[in-house]
Symmetry: D2
């Protein structure tokens, strides 16, 4: 079962540019992480954009949707910033016949201590087993994005009570 | 969905004892790893033994089986050395009504670069979704232990061709 | 020989605040780094401010100078952002009878790969042996700050040719 | 000032061989560590042997002495296991006109938390400034090897009281 990874940016890919005294979204980290994990399944990584998710526009989400719809594989992992991950998941509503799992991290993958590697492993374990649909898989839970919000203070995702 | 973790040792838990100039199986690392991953599900960690899996005996496997059978939760993760992980999985054959996933690592979790954290994340993602049964989940693949062998040269698990 | 550490901020202490999607100067990392290095000399750590060095003002440098002058110990390490480290070193000119070494890092100490720990070790090795004076010790070289500049493109310090 | 590094093994270079379920002394780590630290001085690394220092023989020490004596550079760093580091330092007694600093680590350099990088930085800072002679520089202290012993229980070096 081959997996397509679309990397669009977010904290997980943040690196430090000393020349700017600032952190920016760098190249996708997931390729390195999967090599270090010595994984034995087939995968392709495509970098669609490198954005903090708070800066994502409707056009960005449309571009992601087109990439997903045009993908010949039916198991798709999207690494994405956490702030608007649920919005992008909802923007994929209606895509049929594919299992799409979104994940990210609250600390950059390059840190000595980070949730990034766990989240990637967890998301791939979920992706291989879930029925077609659109999911957010993070910090050990799989969510339906419909009423999902990020609780920034608690550093976790929650289902909004109606 | 609460998860029971049984830690029995293996490379994943190896630490270095300077006073002995040697590595030994230390305390289970999984508690630290789950805290660092900021997971939001409930879990319990029980250390059953601290053994290199090549040193495991039939009595050890009987003890693991009894712990699994006596566990009140029905989602169980076992962290185990990789060398005889498939043997222990086969020794659990016949346990009914529980989803049991075994995982481990080929490099200790305390290393800067290790497959441990990915494997833990992957195993938990699989554990939450798999039907009752006994599985080995490692390096991005879920295996039925029936004909599973570890290819030590290639650092990977493979299904023995009959 | 007891060492006084004054931490004033900079990249070395940068941590990631998910709630702000931004990196900021956090608590001094040097205490943790020295504990992890299992050092056997005595030291005190005082956090004077937490600033990116590009934001440092003349008042900040005056405050650092007063702390150095008022310090009862005569071996002082200052961890500082690299961008204006040489300026602060020059602002300490004329402090007598003390060995003052400044260091910092071009990648945060919390990264898996960083120059921070090496620089701390190197700076302390230098600090213990240098004659009284003001020095910048970084990336394996000890500099007189008089004509020192940071070459941002090359990620290194250089002595300006006159 | 160019530095010659002789790597002879020890905990600092230990890596894990999954195929043997055991840790062994691997390739010298110091080249990677110096690259990661972005150092700006010139250096050469020569691997003389890869041994746990408890296994070192008089012949090994003779070989190290010959390498040191034959070295055209006069600043020499030796990375060495800690258990018999002081013995090797004493075996170099009488080498004239060179500054020789020995260091090592109590935890492998490949661990997320290790004293290795600090010790390398500290040893190089000391090496560049010390008068000709033979020294052990570790955990933030420079020692004359004459009466030096390793206190294995306390994980530190101490000068034996006579």
């Amino acid at each position: 079962m081959e997996i397509q990874v679309f990397a669009v940016g977010g904290t997980i890919d943040k690196i430090y540019f000393d020349a700017k005294s600032d952190f920016e979204v760098g190249e996708p980290q997931i390729g390195d992480l999967l090599r270090e994990a010595n994984v034995t399944f087939d995968y392709r990584v495509t970098s669609l954009m490198r954005k903090d998710s708070i800066d994502m526009t409707d056009e960005d989400r449309q571009l992601i949707r087109e990439a997903v719809e045009g993908c010949e594989l039916d198991r798709i992992l999207i690494t994405h910033g956490t702030d608007t991950m649920a919005d992008t998941a909802r923007a994929l509503k209606g895509v049929e016949g594919k299992t799409i799992v979104m994940t990210g991290a609250m600390q950059p993958a390059r840190f000595r201590v980070s949730d990034a590697i766990f989240n990637i492993g967890y998301a791939i374990g979920s992706l291989q087993l879930l029925e077609p649909g659109i999911y957010v898989a993070i910090n050990g839970q799989v969510f339906d994005p419909e009423h999902l919000i990020k609780n920034r203070e608690a550093h976790r995702f929650e289902v909004e009570s109606s």
